[in-house]
């Protein structure tokens, strides 16, 4: 026989715990799929490192390279940690931690030798799936993670499968597994309480890329409007009540922030605490220093806004916001802006009540007046113009009208204004006379201040388009706008939009109609050209919105509402009951109902009948052993249960003919004999009763 060494070798080969070819392949694919999206958020050397590790692992599998020794592994691990520290300059924070997880995940691949290691890797893979949500919570991230889960399940399947089967079959099995777990996910999603510090997604990744910063210089907004990115979405019907009050286009001024410091080129925003010294109140009621005065008929707007992350602390609202509610701490500043204490680094939902019927700050403090009248040196011609108005002793309102009339005369609205020099206001007003909204608003504010009227620049968005199903309004970066506010005695702060004087279509119909053909083309370069692509984008944005609204912003309140709707109560024990009961019920269902096997073939009808017959026999205490053939079982029946003997042989014979001789035409005969048998049994039972 064998030398003992040989046989030992053979035995090890037979039932080894080693990672098979199939499993390794699955593992590599699964790991790649799990960490691929993370690569976009992590240091660039990670993908390269992964590639290297994959190559090493394959070489090890082929036996070309040995498994690494302990000191090599230590070296690798230490090297990676040093790399992370160099990349991030610190080890604290979410991103370095995720990177650390990915590094560990990748390095584990070199080390893994047996099935336990594979299981560990797959489990880390599940954590990697969760880590993706730190960076992105979009619908696409969710769909992708479902895909990743399928692959991870497939990997597990391939390992525990005793048979080598086609990858396709394992994918199907994994899909079935995933489908079975989806209802569990659903229950967890609906019922599990959101514990905010634990549940909140840590801030990472997307810092505000597009949007306003705290300063506006000429050209800033005209650059911004070329982006089709969504700034925020507005739902004017947050309660799903019947009457949604939607402001008319000319009222859709979404105030973002007011800029009151001008240095001759840029307008600057001073944060509220810089101005007044007091911190934001967490109370969502109007600022104590506000002086609002109710005036005439007021229209109230109720709306909720889903704001995209823009990395800044301000939020947008219609004039005049009276109340704001959100999970974040939000408050008002004394110039009627909504602010949070922290920068918005993830999509944020908040709800605002605004009203048109209020006067703002009918009285101005001396300090405020001073701030809003300060002008830098320079621009002599503009100063002279303002001086001439002052000399004619025009009232404030008349001054405003005069300035607007000036704009109305010879100015051109354009995305590509000529460059301006040191006296930018002068050059714009008297030479180029071509500009975008920030030019108009800026020079208008300058003129007003020069004429002694408190004025400031406001930036935000103007307009917004309704989604296809008219359920919500989408405001994009291309709706970015700048306008002015002037303080008029007894009327308080009043919005004046000089752009309206130049290009009224901009306000009424949107930027597309206000620009010349050339400019419109420039604007469209950011847009997708083909019409169906555009509709597709719209549809996708629509989906993304629904995802935002229904899934991501689902909170404890919604959960309680759901419980109330379903059970009329929101008691805490209902949550527990639903959680445990629901999942328990599902598991029970999976256990009891043999769900149709998608992968398997349909059983032969004779097979089905025969199984039913076997179940009948089992009920009578005659259990077919798995290894017993039909004939063997029939013989035993003959022996053990004479009552059933009459048909047993015949049934086995027919079954053999049908299944093993392929004579399907005998199926009716088998059915007949089984029916006959049941009938006679019923008769016997009746008699014995």
């Amino acid at each position: 026989m064998f030398a003992s060494g040989d046989s030992a070798l053979l035995e090890r080969g037979g039932v080894s715990d080693q990672v098979g070819r199939n499993t390794l392949l699955w593992l590599l694919v699964a790991q790649g799929v799990a960490i691929f999206p993370l690569f976009f958020f992590l240091p660039l050397w990670l993908p390269l490192m992964w590639l290297g590790v994959v190559i090493a692992r394959v070489q090890m599998f082929r036996g070309a390279w040995p498994f690494p020794r302990n000191f090599v592994k230590t070296l690798l691990g230490a090297g990676c940690i040093i790399g992370l520290i160099i990349s991030y300059r610190s080890v604290a924070g979410v991103e370095p931690m995720v990177a650390f997880l990915v590094v560990a995940f990748i390095l584990k691949l070199v080390e893994v030798r047996d099935k336990h290691g594979v299981v560990l890797i797959v489990y880390i893979g599940f954590i990697a799936v969760a880590a993706l949500f730190i960076f992105s919570q979009s619908l696409w991230a969710a769909l992708y993670s479902l895909f990743t889960l399928t692959i991870l399940f497939g990997c597990l399947q391939s390992m525990f499968c005793s048979q080598v089967s086609q990858p396709g079959k394992q994918v199907v099995e994994a899909c079935i597994l995933l489908l079975k777990s989806l209802p569990v996910m659903g229950i967890l999603f609906l019922v599990l309480p959101r514990i905010s510090p634990l549940w909140a997604v840590p801030e990472a990744g997307k810092s505000g890329k597009t949007g306003f910063s705290g300063t506006v210089s000429p050209g800033d907004i005209s650059r911004l409007v070329r982006s089709q990115e969504i700034a925020f979405r507005v739902d004017f019907n947050p309660d799903n009540s019947n009457q949604a009050v939607v402001p008319p286009p000319e009222q859709r001024y979404w105030r973002g922030l007011t800029l009151d410091t001008y240095d001759g080129r840029s307008w600057r925003f001073r944060s509220p605490w810089q101005r007044s010294g007091d911190t934001l109140s967490s109370v969502n009621l109007p600022h104590p220093r506000w002086s609002l005065q109710r005036q005439g008929d007021a229209t109230f707007y109720e709306y909720s806004i889903i704001l995209e992350a823009h990395g800044q602390p301000w939020l947008f609202s219609l004039m005049v916001p009276l109340q704001v509610t959100s999970e974040l701490k939000m408050g008002f500043t004394d110039d009627y802006l909504i602010m949070t204490g922290k920068d918005i680094r993830q999509r944020t939902l908040y709800r605002v009540q605004s009203s048109t019927g209020y006067l703002r700050s009918p009285y101005l403090t001396e300090a405020e007046r001073r701030v809003n009248q300060t002008i830098p040196r320079g621009n002599p011609r503009a100063l002279a113009l303002a001086g001439s108005w002052q000399q004619r002793q025009l009232s404030a309102q008349q001054t405003v009208d005069a300035a607007l009339a000036l704009f109305n005369r010879e100015f051109v609205y354009s995305l590509q204004p000529p460059a301006l020099g040191t006296h930018s206001v002068d050059e714009f007003l008297f030479d180029t006379r071509t500009g975008f909204c920030e030019h108009f608003a800026s020079s208008f504010t300058f003129l007003m201040r020069a004429a002694g009227i408190p004025a400031r620049l406001v930036v935000g968005y103007q307009g917004g388009t309704f989604s296809e199903d008219a359920s919500h309004m989408v405001v994009r970066q291309s709706d970015a706008h700048a306008w002015a506010e002037v303080w008029l005695p007894s009327r308080g702060w009043v919005r004046v939009d000089p752009t309206n004087a130049v290009a009224p279509e901009r306000i009424r119909r949107g930027i597309q109609d206000a620009l010349s053909l050339n400019d419109a083309q420039l604007l469209n370069s950011g847009l997708l050209s083909s019409a169906w692509l555009q509709t597709l984008t719209l549809k996708l944005e629509e989906l993304e919105y629904l995802w935002q609204k229904n899934v991501l912003s689902y909170d404890n309140q919604d959960k309680d509402d759901l419980l109330k709707k379903l059970f009329g109560s929101k008691a805490w024990w209902l949550t527990g009951l639903l959680l445990i009961g629901g999942i328990g019920l599902l598991l029970l269902m999976y256990h009891l109902l043999p769900l149709p096997r998608l992968a398997g073939k349909r059983a032969h009808p004779a097979e089905v009948m025969y199984r039913k017959y076997l179940r009948g026999m089992q009920a009578q205490g005659l259990q077919r052993q798995p290894w017993e053939t039909a004939t063997a079982f029939a013989r035993r029946v003959l022996h053990e249960s004479p009552a059933n003997a009459k048909y047993a042989m015949e049934i086995a014979d027919l079954y053999n003919h049908i299944i093993y001789q392929g004579r399907s035409e005998l199926v009716p005969a088998l059915r007949e004999i089984l029916q006959e048998k049941n009938k006679s049994r019923a008769v016997v039972q009746k008699l014995s009763r």
Binding site: V15, W627, Y660
Partner: protein, 311 residues
């Protein structure tokens, strides 16, 4: 056909009393164009069975007693120089026959063993650069003595695979033995036996075996059995593809003998010990003496673990 097979069985049955099952297996092996390995003590009727089969089937018969000094040329043949013609003449060895009894095959060196085994596999012999076809049918019955293994070269697993079946005859039953005591000397009966079928009819039967029907469900059962030997932990190695094919062929021949033109799971189960026994090895069957153990328990484990009905 039915009568032919019946009469073959009857004829052999008159010589080998009470060994119907083994005779049937041997016959099935022959019908399936496979070679047979009989593992038994001397004097159990191995030679009688081989001779009897050859006679009944009207086949040429040769017997080689394997010894440690037996050389390949002793089996295959060799070229001798003829002085009169001044040329070489090939002297055919005993392998050029239809039924070859290789007695105590494990007594010869691996070199000689492999010479025979190659002939078995290829049905041809290459000597002195010339390939010579063996007669058709060519059927080897090899015997092995499981005891007294001193100075033997047991066949390795790879060689065992060349035998379609491995059976052992075992002691005869009481009644059969008594009949032997009272009756005529089997050797005399043997000499009286007349061929029942001829080589052409045998080939016809062998061709028919190939046409036995095996349905999807049956192949599924076979597949699951084979897979079990490969992936269950109690097997140190599983059945090869050649082994699986051999199993199917042997079962078909068995169905043929049972006068059925289709396969039943019973056929697979019946030939299982003879076909699978020498092709697999359990993880715990360490043999200290070197004698191949009969892995009965592992075969039973195999049969009992795999359900006949697909799940």
């Amino acid at each position: 056909m039915r009568t032919l097979i019946d009469s073959v069985l009857n004829s052999v049955g008159t010589v080998l009393l009470g060994k119907e099952h083994q005779v049937k297996l041997a016959l099935a092996c022959l019908f399936a164009r496979g070679h047979l390995l009989i593992e038994d003590l001397p004097g159990m009727g191995k030679t009688t069975l081989a001779q009897c089969l050859a006679k009944v089937l009207g086949l040429q018969y040769e017997r080689v007693q394997f010894t440690s000094d037996l050389l390949p040329a002793d089996i295959l043949g060799f070229a001798i120089y003829e002085r009169e013609q001044g040329s070489f003449r090939f002297q055919h060895g005993p392998v050029f026959t239809q039924v070859l009894l290789a007695d105590e095959i494990n007594r010869s060196t691996p070199k000689t063993q492999s010479a025979l085994l190659e002939a078995m596999e290829e049905a041809q012999v290459s000597i002195e650069g010339q390939t010579r076809e063996l007669p058709e049918p060519f059927f080897v019955i090899a015997t092995q003595n499981p005891l007294s293994q001193a100075g033997t070269y047991p066949l390795p697993e790879s060689q065992l695979d060349r035998f379609l079946m491995r059976i052992s005859l075992g002691y005869p039953s009481r009644s059969a033995e008594q009949a032997l005591f009272n009756g005529v000397d089997p050797r005399r009966i043997l000499s009286d036996i007349q061929p029942v079928i001829d080589a052409q009819q045998l080939q016809e039967i062998q061709n028919q075996v190939q046409r036995i029907k095996a349905t999807e469900q049956l192949l599924d059962y076979l597949q699951r059995l084979v897979d079990f030997t490969r992936y269950d932990e109690s097997f140190s190695y599983g059945l090869s593809t050649r082994g699986a094919l051999a199993w199917l062929r042997a079962a078909k021949a068995w169905a043929m003998i049972a006068q059925r033109e289709y396969l039943l799971p019973e056929d697979l189960q019946t030939v299982l010990p003879a076909v699978v026994g020498h092709r697999v090895r359990g993880i715990h069957t360490h043999s200290h003496s070197g004698a191949p153990e009969k892995p009965q328990s592992i075969l039973e484990h195999l049969t009992k673990s795999v359900s006949v009905l697909s799940n």
